[in-house]
């Protein structure tokens, strides 16, 4: 085979690279430090990628039980029938290309003294610093009959995108026309404040075309819609007249699973498909680091280091939020970057950024094409040592519009690429 000069140079440089790697393997230069990230959601995946981006000499191991990342944002469009599961699923292979070692396992404990993460199957992973992005777990004790695995298999939350998203869609498809779809909403704070109201829009959009005699009923423990209220109410009235009913101050006390009924403080509400969002707390792996109301974890906002344990950093929905800070994907992505930057600084003996900034943009799709947003900019207050919204910044859409529908899909593509490589 003849080789031209270009091919020759390519082959030669590949040879050099291979020799270099071989040399490394023969006499491995010890990495500067090892960071273990627990949980590959928006916060954890972003943190893992950005530690590598900011300092490739640091070893990063991501522990994640799921084979691929499934996005909660946009998962309501699967319920509406406008997206499939594949559209909201991204593999972790992109992170591997950035040098993140992805370990598919379940973290069972974080041993702060031994500085290692224990796994369900594999050997414990030692760390210099651990970044825990545990998401939320559900407080089933608030709905006693929902405590059993059987009940949880029948009455779905679909508040962690994945098999439950597809299963809830199947329940909606199987529901007869004329049926009632009931969503129960817990008292704030909970993951994704506008999510339940967006879900109502998406399911109503499906009913409007496929099952027009059906109804969506929102039973909200909050007094009123907790996010983008006027915009959602306008969308409900204009796009889905008589398809969505909203009841505030409606606290679910328990679920009669066999009777498909929500038990409320005042009376019971039957539904054909129940979608129950229980109260939430920091994901179970972070339980030792919970410091507020037996639910949430507090951190030093400059580093995201836990107030309960050294060398343990916590991100995302599991946190006791700063004022006006939503439990959102964009916010978790921002947490991941501030935390990754600080962890890299600390492992290099440097001072973390004294003035971190977080920007939140949350889009909600009120139909297959129309969207609304809420946005905010947060900076660090040196007196109160917390993030605060910058006065005069932020706000919501002036009206639902198609441009923001396009921007929603653009946001998804970019944040997935930003977090997952």
């Amino acid at each position: 085979m003849r080789m031209d000069r270009r091919q020759f140079l390519k082959a030669a440089s590949a040879g050099v690279a291979a020799t270099g790697l071989g040399g490394c393997a023969a006499a491995p230069s010890a990495p500067k430090a090892r960071v273990v990230v627990v949980g590959g959601g928006y916060g954890g995946a972003t943190a893992a990628r950005y530690v590598r981006l900011l300092d490739p000499s640091i070893d990063v191991v991501l522990v994640e039980p799921n084979e691929a990342f499934v996005s909660c944002p946009l998962s309501n469009l699967v319920l509406g029938g406008f997206k499939g599961m594949a559209d909201i699923t991204t593999p972790y292979t992109g992170l591997e290309r950035h040098g993140v070692k992805v370990v598919r396992d379940v973290a069972t404990a974080i041993d702060v003294d031994k500085k290692q993460v224990r796994l369900a199957r594999g050997a414990a992973l030692p760390f210099d610093r651990v970044i825990v992005s545990p998401g939320v777990d559900f407080m089933w004790e608030a709905l006693p009959a929902m405590g059993s695995a059987d009940a949880q298999a029948r009455v779905l939350h679909a508040w962690k995108a994945g098999p439950q998203t597809a299963a809830l869609r199947r329940q909606l498809e199987a529901m007869p026309d004329g049926g009632v779809f009931v969503i129960t909403i817990p008292l704030a704070p909970y993951r994704c404040p506008p999510g339940p109201y967006e879900r109502a829009c998406q399911v109503a959009a499906y009913f409007k075309s496929a099952k027009p005699r059906s109804k969506v009923l929102l039973l909200d423990e909050n007094a009123d819609v907790t996010s983008k209220g006027p915009l959602f109410k306008k969308a409900w009235a204009e796009l889905y007249p008589n398809l969505i009913e909203y009841r505030g101050n409606s606290k679910a006390l328990d679920i009669d699973v066999a009777g498909s009924t929500v038990k409320l403080e005042f009376g019971d509400q039957k539904g054909d498909v129940l979608n129950v969002l229980p109260p939430m707390k920091a994901g179970n792996i972070a339980a030792p680091f919970i410091t507020v109301n037996r639910r949430w974890c507090e951190v030093d906002w400059l580093t995201f280091e836990s107030k309960a344990a050294k060398n343990v950093h916590i991100l995302g929905d599991a946190l006791q939020i700063a004022p006006a800070m939503p439990k959102s994907a964009t916010m978790a992505n921002g947490h991941g970057k501030v935390c990754a930057s600080a962890v890299v600084n600390l492992l290099n003996g440097e001072t973390p950024n004294p003035a971190p900034t977080l920007v939140n943009t949350c889009y909600s799709m009120v139909s297959d094409k129309l969207a609304i947003h809420v946005a905010s900019v947060h900076k660090y207050d040196i007196n109160d040592r917390t993030f605060k919204a910058v006065p005069g910044s932020g706000g919501v859409s002036s009206a639902m519009n198609e441009a923001e529908g396009t921007y929603t899909m653009n946001w998804a593509r970019n944040i997935w690429a930003d977090a997952l490589g």
């Binding site: 209220g229 946005a375 919204a389 005069g392 970019n414 944040i415």
Partner: protein, 115 residues
């Protein structure tokens, strides 16, 4: 604070739909001074990535041009127009108001240097 300012502030937060932590009459936040040197500009620029891509390089199909490689002057001009409310916007007018002019200049310089 004068009463009519207080009323306006209240209306603003209702319109914004954000439960701003600041109560009427509460002291203004004491934000840390802008970090404009070292990794400060990059840290601020990272907040653009969810919509504009890592380091300003957008994922395929973006409905706007990438920030990476844009001249500092152009980015300053556009963000200034968003901030002043003179450029049509859906969300950027609200986000630009969260940054000082010096911060915008630092972010713009950072993106100019990205390829």
């Amino acid at each position: 604070m004068k009463p009519h300012f207080r009323a306006l502030a209240g209306l603003g937060s209702v319109v914004a739909g954000i439960a701003l932590a600041q109560q009427p009459g509460a002291p203004a936040p004491a934000f840390a001074p802008s970090h404009l040197t070292g990794n400060g500009p990059r840290a601020m620029a990272m907040t653009c990535a969810p919509c504009h891509g890592t380091n300003g390089t957008t994922a395929p199909g973006a409905p706007f041009r990438p920030l990476a490689g844009r001249s500092q002057g152009e980015t300053i001009e556009i963000l200034g127009q968003f901030k002043a409310g003179t450029r049509p916007a859906t969300v950027m007018h609200q986000i630009a108001k969260g940054f000082t002019d010096d911060e915008i200049a630092a972010i713009a310089a950072y993106f100019e240097a990205q390829r």
